[in-house]
């Protein structure tokens, strides 16, 4: 299927990946969603805005076919304040639509689940932070009332286990409600939004050139991916040509971010299966990795390294050599550890079949990114919508069919080796030139998008700036929105003690989701 088949009036946008944009009527909104769903398209994200003239607009981005994106805007009447539901076609839209209601007070007409999502009762029901009449700084003295209506499971011997938002370990806050019989999980319901910080509104206090700093703090583990996605949108709007060397340096940072997170996860997943050796070995490698980040990029997590026009600093030949050398060292170590993981029967016994998401379910629910690839969904923005420098790199996508913890571990091992290969190639063939385009901020208004494959999956940014260089609206989308609901399915039938292991094998972002 092509975008042309949808018979909508759309314009191709001058982005670094194929993206067309058009305005739809309510009828077109519904028929486009139906046609895209029937032709195995994916929902990337859905959000809403209020324009300065008061007009509400709901926007959705679809992945039509392996990287060709369609951005649809649906202007809606203020007095109606509703738009046609698409969650019956794209289950992943459910929570996004509930979030739209919480932020703007406009309804998905026909949606079956209309419970609040980001709003936990800490501010009045009729307060909508993204509306023009509000500044986002209003402080409610309302005492938080926690009366969220969880779905209950009835039957003989069924009981509930409530976990969170404060968990046993050092992890982000979220609430999990298990309905169990004995040890077996019958149903899991997640409640998120605890780390909601009002970021969508906070972006409007930033100038376009400074917004990358906030974008880089959506989810600290993906700071490079977020800031690149943000900068890509802004550079598209301002038609900035970023030096090739800068793009290559961004890719070095992005692949290093991927490796750093995969190393940490491989250790933590081993640990959640009772294999402390794995944690201690992989955390040592991760620490070595972060220390080189610090000495070469100036920050252990590489925060604020990517900025509009390029990257903050160049890497000298000595730094490039160290990066190259570390890739070789880490590769040998990870090979050894992979052998130990693969041969450890106790570990494999916990990994295999735990938290299985079959491909059919993954496709239906819209599972994406690393977890999607472990369930046979062959999608990776670096491959399907490769922007420079990935268009020259020919990334080998890692796809596994198992859909279980073992498959998510295998994809991580594959991707560590592939990223090490890419980093070596990038530093050995780094083009000469500047690491940053020196230019004054433009004063042209407009909107555009960025799409970057973070270690977890695709991170999409939609940015709208005015002619004074101020952000009008910035929507940043974390792949965790798609993947969180899938965990509720992945755990069904597994025992409760497998939940931490399964959850860690996805390792989704709370902050990136809650914003």
């Amino acid at each position: 299927m092509n975008i042309a088949d949808l018979e909508l009036s759309v314009t191709a946008m001058p982005t670094r990946f194929p993206l067309s944009r058009g305005t739809a009527t309510a009828g077109e909104w519904e028929s486009a969603a139906l046609a895209i769903a029937e032709n195995h398209g994916r929902l990337v994200t859905i959000w809403a805005s209020q324009k300065r003239n008061g007009q509400f607009v709901v926007s959705a981005v679809y992945d039509i076919e392996n990287g060709e994106l369609l951005w649809l805007d649906l202007p809606i009447l203020k007095k109606e304040a509703k738009y046609p539901d698409i969650s019956s076609l794209f289950p992943a839209a459910t929570r996004m639509q509930r979030a739209i209601k919480d932020l703007l007070g406009i309804d998905a007409d026909g949606a079956s689940d209309k419970r609040p999502w980001l709003s936990h009762g800490a501010w009045p029901e009729d307060y909508f932070p993204l509306r023009n009449e509000n500044t986002g700084k209003e402080k409610s003295s309302q005492v938080q009332v926690d009366d969220y209506q969880f779905v209950t499971v009835a039957g003989e011997g069924v009981h509930e286990i409530a976990v969170g938002p404060v968990h046993a370990g050092i992890i982000e806050p979220g609430h999990f409600r298990f309905s169990v019989v004995g040890e077996k999980t019958l149903r899991l319901e997640e409640r998120l939004g605890y780390t909601h910080k009002g970021v969508d509104r906070a972006f409007q206090d930033f100038s376009a050139v400074e917004g990358y700093r906030l974008a880089g703090r959506m989810s600290g583990d993906s700071t490079v991916a977020y800031s690149w996605s943000y900068c890509m949108s802004l550079e598209n709007i301002w038609k900035w040509r970023v030096p090739t060397r800068a793009l290559w340096l961004r890719a070095v940072a992005l692949e290093r971010e991927r490796v750093g997170n995969h190393l940490g996860d491989l250790g933590a997943i081993g640990n959640d299966a009772g294999f402390a050796f794995g944690l201690s070995q992989f955390m040592r490698l991760r620490e070595d990795w972060l220390r080189l980040n610090k000495s070469v990029f100036g920050h252990r997590l590489m925060m604020d390294y990517v900025l509009p026009g390029g990257v903050v600093g160049d890497i000298d030949p000595e730094g490039l050599l160290q990066i190259r050398k570390q890739c070789d060292e880490i590769e040998i170590e990870v090979h050894t550890l992979q052998g130990i993981y693969d041969d450890h029967s106790g570990l494999q016994d916990r990994f295999l079949t735990a938290g299985t998401v079959p491909k059919e379910l993954a496709v239906r629910l819209g599972l994406i990114g690393l977890a999607g690839r472990a369930s046979g969904v062959a999608h990776d923005v670096r491959v399907n919508a490769a922007a420079e420098p990935y268009s020259e790199l020919a990334v080998n996508i890692s796809v596994r069919e198992g859909g279980d913890v073992a498959a998510r571990v295998d994809v991580r091992f594959d991707e560590v080796f592939e990223s090490l290969r890419l980093i070596r190639y990038l530093v050995e063939n780094l083009p000469s030139g500047s690491n940053r385009k020196e230019a004054a901020p433009r004063n042209s208004s407009g909107s555009s998008a960025g799409w970057i494959e973070g270690w977890r999956g695709g991170i999409f940014t939609a940015l709208d700036v005015d002619s004074t260089g101020q952000i009008l609206r910035c929507h940043v989308h974390d792949p965790s929105w798609q993947n969180w609901p899938v965990i509720e399915h992945a755990v069904i039938g597994d025992i409760v003690p497998d939940f931490p292991l399964i959850n860690k094998s996805f390792n989704l972002s709370y902050s990136g989701h809650d914003r």
């Binding site: 980001l118 936990h120 800490a122 501010w123 307060y127 932070p129 509000n134 986002g136 700084k137 209003e138 402080k139 409610s140 938080q144 926690d146 938002p165 404060v166 046993a168 370990g169 050092i170 992890i171 982000e172 806050p173 939004g193 605890y194 780390t195 909601h196 910080k197 009002g198 970021v199 509104r201 906070a202 700093r213 703090r217 989810s219 600290g220 583990d221 700071t223 940490g264 050796f277 201690s280 070995q281 955390m283 040592r284 991760r286 620490e287 972060l290 610090k294 252990r300 997590l301 925060m303 050894t336 550890l337 130990i340 041969d343 450890h344 029967s345 972002s509 709370y510 902050s511 809650d514």
Partner: protein, 174 residues
């Protein structure tokens, strides 16, 4: 199967580094001994993410790796606030987490040490104050020690934790 494992362990050896020097604390001997003297037992910490971007969590988590070997210093993170001496908080306090944070604080036995980790926990950081964010931890709890940074590096957090213990020593001399 055990052989490659043992070989790897012996190849790596002991990677633990020297802990940071904190005045008055390490001068008189091993940190473990000092903590034992002050606390009468191991220092136990309950960590709460009150709305962080997870950057601080990554650096707090890294304290458990072999280089910092936090548990080797007699410091450990515990699951229950009832077992904790120190409340270590990251992130701006989101409205949605403020109640859970207060409940965690109430569950901790007194005397306790409250430490704010990272710029957000100190003053709201880049997220500031809004309808959704209350700002720094001091808006809701009395903070004994602040550890700045975005995020503060693991080593700096360790220094801060040790300084907080020292602060406790000064506050309540034994």
């Amino acid at each position: 199967m055990m052989w490659p494992l043992i070989r790897q362990i012996s190849k790596v050896g002991i990677a633990t580094e020297k802990p940071p020097l904190v005045q008055d604390l390490v001068a008189s001997g091993r940190i473990q001994d000092e903590i034992l003297r002050i606390m009468g037992r191991a220092l136990t910490i309950r960590e709460v993410d009150a709305g962080s971007c997870n950057g601080c969590e990554l650096e707090v988590n890294a304290l458990g790796n072999v280089y910092y070997n936090l548990e080797g210093l007699g410091i450990k993170f515990v699951a229950s606030p009832r077992h904790a001496d120190m409340l270590l908080i990251t992130g701006p306090v989101s409205r949605n987490m403020s109640r859970a944070l207060a409940v965690t604080d109430e569950a901790m036995p007194a005397p306790k040490i409250v430490v704010a980790v990272g710029d957000c926990a100190i003053n709201g950081g880049i997220f500031g104050e809004s309808y959704a964010s209350l700002g720094g931890v001091s808006k809701v709890l009395t903070v004994d020690m602040e550890i700045p940074g975005c995020p503060p590096e693991s080593f700096v957090i360790l220094e801060g934790i040790l300084s907080a213990v020292r602060y406790r020593l000064k506050k309540r001399p034994d």
